[in-house]
Amino acid sequence: MFPFARSQMMDPRRFLEVARRLLTRSAEEDWRTAANRAYYSLMIPCRDALSRWGFVAPKSDAVHQFVRSRFYLSPYPDLTPIGTILNHLSHLRSQADYEMSSLQFKTITVVRQAVLDADDGLKQLDALQADAAKLAAAIAAIRSRFP
């Protein structure tokens, strides 16, 4: 066991605060970076939730698809909206980081919505985890889709 207390781990939700700060600036590179931070502010808590539920994500690039697919494709209505947001943020993040010709970041509109979406996704994740019956059903749905 490492001598680091769990409380010393950085909360990945703080990435969303970085994204919000970047939204107050007016350059495309800030908005692209905000899109990146918004994605990770939701993806990492979703990955960690899956781990707590017994679905350990690979420690490789495959983690993105692993997390996204379990929320998006598992047949449970409280997982789908989170998966939808993850899916959208993932595509936007990829464009933000790799596609310099993308027009998605010429205005703040798309990124501002992405930050709102990430916040919404985190709230939905929290609500799911706070409801034991729903959480059990969600875990069963993931297990049925990804045995």
Binding site: P75, T80, N87, H88, Q95, T107, V110, R112, Q113
Partner: protein, 118 residues
Amino acid sequence: MKAGGKAVIATTVPVTIEPDAAEQIDKLGLRAEFERILDHVLQTTLNLTRVEVTFPPSYEEPNETVVVEGFGIWDDEQFRDYRERYLRWVIETFPPEASYYIHVSLCPVADDGSQAIS
């Protein structure tokens, strides 16, 4: 769309489908779903100026998803409205695999369609 706002008839919107995107749609076996999704976007999204269908590269992970990117002249409220209405429709209409592998993205642009609003 806001009442009284100028509308562009969606059926006149130019659609570009990259060959590798068309190939991927067929490989996924989602041709019928793709055509219905594209038709829905064209018919229900006012002030759409063009649509591009691409198969993005695999940058950090293997990509299997085709992206339908719709460009149009919308304010924030219209953008949110079209996006939310599309997501509701696609979730109600298809099994999740269809919208997982065919991703629709909307992008607000300026009147000439080539340069975004600053």
